[in-house]
């Protein structure tokens, strides 16, 4: 099965019905798939902390939310993760393109990649790293875990997972 379909199937199976996105080239396929599903309300946000605010509101309104974003955004969402999502104890699956890893062609992306796992660890955010497509078989369990414990959870998906950049 197409990996984008598989990911969004897991979202739908876990009742995720409110998804906000800030795009990344690697995430284009999964965002298209989100758009194609009537079960999911897709609301693009202009910045990832804004998106987390939308998700917090949707959660309090009874929906299960998720955010799709790039790892560079960890840098702009630390405060929101600490003082909104974690402080009020809300669940938030974060499907993150892990730019700056193996097969990355853009050197600047590496500058945030080297901080990504350290920042997530510092924040005590459970973090999973998808490197090959079979790793996505755990997504269903990760989503169940997220809504069980009411925490933000990071799913890092690197270039190898997405099949590279056509190099």
């Amino acid at each position: 099965m197409d990996i984008n379909q598989q990911i969004v199937d897991d979202f739908v199976a876990n009742d995720i019905s409110f998804v906000t996105t800030v795009p990344c080239k690697q995430l284009a396929g999964v965002i298209d798939e989100i758009d194609a599903r009537p079960e999911i309300f897709h609301i693009p946000s202009n910045k990832e902390d804004e998106g987390m605010g939308l998700c917090a509101g949707a959660f309090m309104g009874g929906k299960r939310p998720a955010i799709i974003m790039q790892n560079t955004a960890i840098g702009v969402t630390i405060n929101t993760l600490a003082t909104l999502i974690q402080y009020y104890r809300m669940p938030l699956p974060m499907l993150i393109s892990y730019r700056g890893e193996l097969r990355e062609p853009v050197a600047c992306q590496v500058e945030m990649a080297v901080h990504t796992k350290a920042l997530l660890a510092q924040m005590n955010i459970p973090t999973y790293h998808f490197h090959t497509q079979s790793d996505a078989d755990e997504l269903d369990m990760i989503l169940k875990y997220t809504f069980m414990c009411n925490k933000p959870v990071a799913i890092l998906t690197d270039a190898n997972f997405w099949g590279g950049y056509g190099e």
């Binding site: 939308l54 509101g57 309090m60 009874g62 104890r89």
Partner: protein, 184 residues
Amino acid sequence: MIRSEILKEIAPILRDHLVVCNIGIPSQELHAIDDQPTNFYMLGTMGLASSIGLGLALAQPKPVIVIDCDGSVLTNLGTLPTIANNVADNYILLIIDNGSYGSTGDQPTYAGKKTSLTKVAEACGCERVVECRAEDTGAVLQDALEARQMTIIVAKCDSGNAKMPVITMDPVVIRDRFMKAVGA
């Protein structure tokens, strides 16, 4: 008229609705004036009240009133295009615009200088934007509730804060009682 006087005046209107209130002194003032389980107080995360309120309005049918301020809207200016392009007719964003950062010592904001948040909201595509004097806020808010149309209100008032205690309620308690009120 300062923000706390507006809040006192509109408290009887707010009481019956879901309210998401901005961080800092605005939440402290609302909490002291009329604490309700239907109030969601932000204790941190400046700028996100309008986004939290929009997510809430899109997720369920009850009216949602967001009490925001000029400084916080400027912090998260990207919120206005998102609001304009995702219309929720149960959503009212009340921007209490006193032209200053009240919680940090009343430093002036750009909204108190050359920038008009009313015009910014209109330029972002918000269709029902009402600017009013502080004294008219209650009437404009009531009108917006009756219109059942997404509305951005910019209430112009004087700079200044009332002395109110810090909110000591646990955030999970605030969130839990608010969610029960949403579901009631």
